[in-house]
Every structure is written in C-alpha cells, then in structure tokens.
C-alpha cells in the first residue's frame, strides 16, 4: 500500500537526518582565524558564541565553565553583539565554540553542544 510505504519512508528519512545531525554535534574541527576585542586567557580561551534563546548553549556554558581555570578563560558572547565574528567564522548554529590560543589565534571550532572529553583533549594541545 502506497500510504504505508510513504509513512515508513518518511520516518526512515527523518531518522537518518537525526542520526547525521547528532553525529555532527560536538565534533572538533580544525579552523583558522583570529579573534580580537576580547580578554584572552593566559594559555587558552574557550570562546562560546551563543544566542539568548538557545537551550544547548546553557549546557555548553556549564561544561566550558567547568574546564576553565587560572590560565584558561571561558567567554560567552551573544552573536548579536559581535556580527563581525558571525560573518568571519560563518556561524550557522549556536552554540559554536572557538578554542583560541594565548594570542587569540583559532585552533579549532566545535558546533553544537560540546563534549567535555573532546574539549579537554583540545585544551591539552593548545
């Protein structure tokens, strides 16, 4: 029956979309660029670009806060305040986290809610 096939196909399609999206969240990507106009951490900066209305941003802020310390700074910016960063880094989702070295050079970027172990591992390399 066509209807049954359409329903099954639709659910399958939505499932595939969901699995692909899930897998892409929190992945670390190499990135380039430079961020100015913020107070940098002594060793590294975890720059979180958020929107005001963003459920995953809150959870990510907690994780990044937990990873910050004496020489690693966590900064959360509303993208509406820095449209220059939005276009420079083509921000398409929030949260987007940029991991910066002590000079504000971008080491890597993470789209979506971050995974603690991956961020910790990246921080070791900065």
């Amino acid at each position: 029956m066509t209807a049954a096939l359409v329903l099954v196909g639709l659910v399958a399609f939505a499932t595939v979309l969901g699995v692909i999206w899930r897998a892409s969240q929190g992945r670390v990507h190499r990135a380039r660029g430079h961020v100015d106009g913020i107070e940098l951490g002594d060793r590294a900066t975890l720059l979180q670009l958020s929107t005001e209305v963003c459920a995953p941003c809150r959870a990510t802020a907690r994780v990044l806060d937990g990873l910050s310390g004496d020489d690693v700074r966590h900064i959360e910016i509303d993208i509406a305040d820095r449209p220059d960063l939005v276009s420079r880094f083509n921000i398409l989702q929030t949260p987007t986290t940029l991991i910066l070295d002590r000079d504000g050079i971008v080491q890597s970027r993470i789209g979506g809610a971050v995974r603690r172990e991956l961020v910790a591992r990246e921080l070791e390399k900065v």
Binding site: T51, V53, A59, I79, D81
Partner: protein
C-alpha cells in the same frame, strides 16, 4: 542569559511526540482518500500549535497531558529550560500547517501531505533527537537582522 519561568524540558518533547503521531495519521488519511478527515485533523493540530504559540508552551494542550499523566510518574527534572524556543517552534508549526491547509483549499495537489510531512520531520527530530528547530530559526533570524537580540 536566562529565560523567565523555566519549564521541564521533557514536556515539549512529549508534546512533539504526540504531534508527530498526529501528523503521521493526517498523512495516512490524506493518502488513503480520507481527505476531509485529514483536513479536520490537521486544522485541529493547527489550533493546538496556535495555543502553544500564543499562550506559551506552558499552556500547550499536549503539555497538559504530560503534566497530568506522565510527569507524576517521573523523577523531577534534572534541569529546566527556557520556554521560548519550544513556544517559537509551535509558531513555526502553525505557519507550515496553515500554509498547507490554504494551499489544499486552493486545490494544490499533495499540499496537505507535504505540509504535514515537513511539520512531522521537525516534531520527530525534536522528540527523538532533542533537535531544537526553534533555536536554529531564531539564530538565522538574528543573523539576518530580522530580530535584534534583547
């Protein structure tokens, strides 16, 4: 950055699950020649979307079911969330479904099915994968300067 009146995040996801099922039924009805029933059901879902969008997701009819039937059986939520993204998402659902209904009444073939399918994908992604379409659209609106962040 925090929202007012935080809510149990499982409520909107439960509502999304019910919405997804309703939309699948609409599609099934539309594809098996039950066009009138499909229209009525989709219109009812549009009203539900509308209540959620304008009264806030806290007053969502499916959310009411969640609070009465499901939540008493669960542990209290680990964390709360801002009600604005799911409320916004109801508005998106209302828009998509309303367009589908209008196009259907104008005689566009498969308008009902396509609109219901689009709304289904969003509801399903939220229910199963916790994907927040409202958050994504909000970001794109801020990017294109349609919304200025408060």
């Amino acid at each position: 950055m925090s929202g007012q009146q935080s809510i149990d995040p499982r409520g909107p996801r439960f509502s999304a699950a019910i919405t997804a099922v309703v939309l699948l039924v609409v599609i099934a009805l539309a594809l098996t020649g039950q066009s009138l029933v499909a229209v009525i059901l989709l219109a009812a879902q549009a009203v539900v979307f509308g209540i959620g969008a304008f009264a806030g997701v806290q007053h969502h009819p499916y959310g009411l079911l969640y609070r009465r039937l499901v939540r008493p059986r669960l542990q209290p939520p680990v964390e709360l969330e801002d009600p604005r993204p799911p409320t916004f998402a109801q508005g998106v659902g209302l828009f998509v479904v309303a367009v589908g209904l209008v196009l259907h009444l104008l005689g566009v073939p498969l308008a009902l099915v396509i609109a219901a399918a689009a709304a289904f994908v969003a509801a399903f992604l939220n229910a199963v994968f916790d994907y927040c379409l409202g958050c994504q659209i909000y970001l794109l609106l801020v990017r294109s300067k349609v919304i200025k962040s408060a």
